[in-house]
């Protein structure tokens, strides 16, 4: 039964199972290499997504699985992210006490979940995919169970994740109950046929609950509290995958629900989205200011980014959605570069400072490894939204979409709200400059640099860094191709 549709996912799951099995016959000292093997295999899958003939748009499995441009975009996105994360994991391998192969395999399973999420077309698929991701991350987050921080992060993620799941299922129940169907297009059709449905209290309540739950995935207010703790406590590659993969999965599901299932309601809840976006941006930016722990800082920065993603959503136009995709594309390289550097640097300084992952660890990095220093600097600058890097163009597009809504004649009622939102967004950008440059400053100009030994870099790590840097610069300097792609995808999917 149209199994070929899920060929990529099947490949990923099989790869994960294969890793678990291979572990049995691989001597411990060579297990680290399994990660690279997995990364290479994923690279093949990624190549396959370009080579294999792919249907333009296809629905399968009782309408629950949708293969369209958006799905393909996100599948490739997740694959790239997972490849880089796997490389990062091999760099991290020394700090994993046991279960290295499982460490790799779980990432693959999470990846499969994300890829399924990209194609979810009804609430059952949404729920199942999201849970596959979340449960995998519970384990991954607490993978370093010798470290108390890792365990605490896991527990925090667990409780809040389960809470959001609770909201999710109750929301799904209400939406299903009032509309009588689980499928996104059918819900849209029902609303089309009977407009009063969209205004029914229970239906709206259900949608809000679902939104809140998806907000957890992308770390948006009011479900953002976990992010800093979990980013800080989790093993670095896991934080990276959370920041990129899990967040993007939340975004794609949010898009599917809001734009496919309830396009009408999305318009009604614009104010809600705006408030969420604004508060998220402010919360993330303001709380990041006093942080000294780099991973925690990135946690808050990821909250702020979630706010920007919501900003694009609350623009309520297709350009906003396209901007979201673009922003995510840049975010992928930027954040992964940052975490890769953190991963490598903290490895070589592990145990030397009482405060792990402190920003101070980067003191003198430019002398120890210019490549790492460059990559981290570029990442920070890109996150801050400074040209000519990817982050700048992403934020530019997002702001453009919002300004577009603000000045469009259809949205006169919301005009002042949009202006406020823009102001908030700008404030966020300005504040973020401050703390991102704090990191840059630490890299180049911190005082009292102790250790100046050079940091060795493995070939895969080096290559990944080059890829990230190239991605950041290319997307910032020559945004044309990706923008055309995202525009095309969005226009084709959401009409």
């Amino acid at each position: 039964m149209n199994a070929s549709l899920i060929g990529f996912e099947i490949a990923v799951v099989l790869l994960g199972l294969g890793l678990l099995l291979l572990d049995l016959w691989t001597p411990p000292e060579r297990r680290r290499g399994l990660g690279l093997a997995a990364a290479l295999s994923l690279l093949l899958v990624l190549v396959a997504t370009f080579v294999v003939p792919i249907p333009q748009e296809a629905v399968g499995f009782g309408g629950g699985y949708l293969f369209d441009g958006l799905a393909l975009f996100f599948k490739r996105f997740f694959l790239v992210a997972a490849i880089l994360v796997l490389v990062m994991q091999t760099e991290f391998a020394d700090r994993i006490a046991s279960g290295l192969s499982e460490f790799y395999a779980l990432v693959l399973f999470a990846l499969a979940g994300m890829m399924f999420a990209a194609s979810a077309n009804n609430f059952v698929m949404l729920f199942v995919a999201i849970e596959l991701i979340t449960v995998t991350f519970y384990v991954l987050t607490s993978f370093q169970r010798g470290r108390q921080a890792s365990l605490e992060a896991g527990v925090k993620y667990l409780i809040l994740g389960a809470l959001s799941s609770g909201f999710l299922v109750f929301g799904i129940a209400l939406v299903y109950g009032t509309s009588g169907t689980m499928s996104f297009p059918e819900i849209a059709a029902k609303i089309e046929a009977n407009h009063s449905l969209a205004h029914q209290g229970l239906f709206q309540f259900g949608i809000v609950l679902v939104m809140v739950a998806l907000g957890f995935k992308i770390a948006a207010v009011p479900m953002q509290i976990w992010a800093p703790d979990v980013y800080q406590g989790a093993p670095t590659p896991v934080s990276a995958f959370l920041a990129v993969g899990s967040k993007a999965a939340g975004v794609v599901l949010l898009l599917r629900v809001l734009l496919t299932a309830v396009p009408d309601l999305a318009g009604h809840s614009a104010k809600l989205l705006m408030v969420a976006a604004g508060v998220t941006i402010l919360y993330g930016s303001l709380c990041a200011i006093p942080q000294r722990n780099i991973k925690r800082l990135l946690g808050y920065s990821s909250i702020a980014s979630a706010g920007f993603l919501l900003l694009g959503l609350s623009a309520l136009n297709l350009n906003g959605v396209s901007a979201i995709l673009y922003y995510l594309g840049g975010y992928l390289f930027t954040v992964l570069a940052a975490f890769l550097v953190i991963c490598i640097v903290t490895r070589s300084t592990a145990g030397q400072t009482s405060q792990e992952d402190d920003v101070g660890l980067f003191a003198g990095l430019h002398q120890r490894s210019p490549l790492l220093a460059t990559a981290l600097t570029l990442a920070m600058v890109s996150l801050a939204g400074v040209p000519p890097l990817a982050g700048f163009f992403g934020k530019f597009l997002l702001l453009k979409a919002v300004v577009e809504s603000a000045s469009s004649p259809d949205q006169t009622a919301l005009r002042s709200a949009y202006y406020t939102l823009i102001a908030v967004g700008l404030t966020g950008v300005v504040i973020s400059l401050y703390y991102y440059f704090g990191v840059v400053k630490a890299i180049f100009w911190s005082k009292g640099v102790g250790d100046l030994s050079p940091i060795p870099l493995s070939l895969p790590a080096r290559l990944s860094l080059y890829v990230c840097i190239a991605g950041m610069i290319f997307l910032g300097v020559y945004p044309g191709p990706l923008l055309d792609l995202t525009d095309g995808v969005v226009k084709a999917v959401f009409k």
């Binding site: 400074v386 000519p388 453009k400 577009e404 603000a406 000045s407 700008l426 400059l433 401050y434 044309g480």
Partner: protein, 510 residues
């Protein structure tokens, strides 16, 4: 490739190249930086000479490449009478700043990379005919500024200054960005483009919606205004310049700051006449704040750098006044002042930087009698002070005179006050500075200071002074190019004003 692309491309290329030069090749580093800025300066001069003054309203040396087709973003550079002088000024100042960069002794590699990036950004910002790239290049120049101040800056308030300048300028830039985006979105769907030329054409043919103008114009005015240290958003400037390393201060105060003014003249005025008509009165009042208030503050300064910083803010007042007058004389004068002040500010900061290098202090009370010790330096400083006061013979005079003539027809009271401020206050603080630094008895501790000795070191100062004098004695070199363009802009900007209001007096070049 167009000459312009070369002018702005070489510094950027050199920045990239420097990234691969080993850290300890210090000579090579500096050589590359100097060569790149020198090339662009020479090319800029070539461009200036080859510029066809007769066709000043046309864009020349144009290069246009599609960049992001779906959004209508193009790499589009070109100069007309308005920005040709600015590009020249930028390139010259960049070269001078690069020459002055010898004071930086640590982490030279990073410094030069940032300096070159900034140079490229500045030149790109002035040469771009695409709104997106305009902003893009400006940001590219702005961010290195923050870093350079934060890292190589001096003084106890360095961190605070960095923070403040970052905050202010980012806010200003982002406000402007929103304004520009809104502008872009005012174009009808399907025809949307960031191309400045087409946008201007479009709005010339079909005026923008009034309410949109009321909204966008202040965004641009204050966004750009903050970038130019419009009173009361000017406080970042003296502080920032006081803490900045010399080349940065030269480049920023001299060139980058003019970007906001350029944006106002190039974008805001012609496209949004209604907005301009409404806000120009206020601008005229605010610019008094710059001229008088900041002039008075400058008088109180004990630190030479802060004094120059404040005076630079005060000078911006003249430009604002010229723009506010919204007639050919005033705006032409404003552009002239922009260029003249670019050279002047660079010169002043370069000199004060040299002094600081020698004495490690800029407190005027501790200095004195240095003229005897450093004749070249003294002479240059005196001339800079004279230019700052607006004495004839320097380019500033020409510009300021035009501004006052232009403004006189529009706001008499304001002009009177401004003239008084310019002549009296400006003269007072400049001359006091000269007296305190150069004259009087030479304190014991400064017996060892050395003058700018080698021709090599003198080059930047000589170059800037030369430019000031050249355009001072022969302003038509610029005005002839500027004026036709300004005429068109003023015509656009005045489109909605009552015809009874005079449109300029007469052509200057006649």
């Amino acid at each position: 490739m167009s000459l312009l692309t070369h002018i702005l491309g070489w510094p950027l290329l050199a920045a990239l190249l420097l990234a691969f030069v080993p850290r300890n090749f210090r000579f090579l580093t500096r050589l590359i930086a100097l060569a790149a800025t020198f090339t662009s300066a020479v090319l800029a001069v070539v461009m200036f000479v080859k510029f066809d003054t007769a066709a000043a309203t046309e864009y020349q040396f144009v290069e246009k490449l599609p960049w992001v087709a779906s959004l209508g973003i193009n790499y589009h550079v070109g100069v007309d009478g308005l920005n040709v002088g600015l590009v020249l000024m930028g390139a010259l100042v960049a070269f001078a700043a690069c020459c002055c960069a010898w004071e930086v002794q640590e982490r030279e590699k990073e410094f030069y990379i940032l300096l070159l990036a900034m140079t490229g950004g500045i030149l790109g910002a002035f040469a771009s005919l695409d709104v997106f790239f305009l902003y893009f290049f400006h940001e590219l120049a702005l961010v290195p500024t923050f870093i350079m101040i934060g890292v190589w800056g001096r003084g106890e308030e360095k961190d605070y200054a960095t923070f403040k300048i970052t905050l202010y300028l980012s806010i200003g830039a982002l406000l402007a960005l929103i304004g520009l985006l809104a502008l872009y979105l005012q174009m009808p769907e399907g025809k949307r483009t960031f191309d400045l030329v087409s946008m201007t054409e479009h709005f010339r043919g079909k005026a923008m919606d009034g309410s949109a103008q009321q909204f966008i114009f202040p965004l641009l005015l204050f966004g750009f205004g903050i970038l130019v240290s419009l009173w009361p958003f000017h406080t970042w400037a003296p502080l920032g310049y006081g803490s900045a390393p010399t080349p940065t201060a030269m480049l920023h105060a001299g060139v980058l700051k003019k970007f906001g003014l350029y944006g106002l003249i190039r974008i805001a005025l012609p496209m949004m006449p209604e907005g301009a008509a409404m806000w120009m009165q206020w601008l005229a009042l605010l610019c008094l704040g710059n001229i008088i208030y900041c002039g008075l503050v400058a008088m109180k300064q004990k630190d030479l750098n802060l004094l120059i910083g404040n005076s630079s803010v005060a000078h911006m007042g003249f430009v604002f006044l010229g723009i506010a007058s919204l007639n050919v004389l005033g705006v032409t004068g404003a552009v002239l002042v922009m260029i003249a002040h670019g050279f002047l500010a660079a010169l002043s900061f370069g000199l004060s930087g040299y002094l600081y290098q020698q004495t490690k202090t800029l407190e005027m009370e501790k200095l004195g009698g240095l003229l005897r010790q450093m004749p070249f330096f003294g002479a240059a400083l005196v001339m800079a002070a004279m230019a700052g006061c607006g004495l004839p013979g320097f380019a500033n005079f020409a510009g300021e005179a035009l501004v006052f003539f232009g403004a006189w027809t529009e706001f008499r009271v304001v002009t009177i006050i401004a003239v008084w401020g310019a002549l009296v206050i400006g003269a007072v603080y400049m001359l006091r500075a000269v007296r305190n630094v150069l004259h009087g008895s030479l304190p014991e501790q400064w017996h060892a200071v050395k003058d700018v000795a080698t021709p090599w070191r003198r080059l930047p100062f000589a170059l800037l002074l030369g430019a000031l004098l050249l355009f001072g004695f022969y302003p038509a070199l610029l005005t002839r190019k500027i004026e036709p363009v300004v005429k068109q802009i003023v015509k656009d900007a005045r489109a909605v004003l009552k015809p009874s209001v005079t449109v300029g007096v007469k052509n200057l070049s006649e």
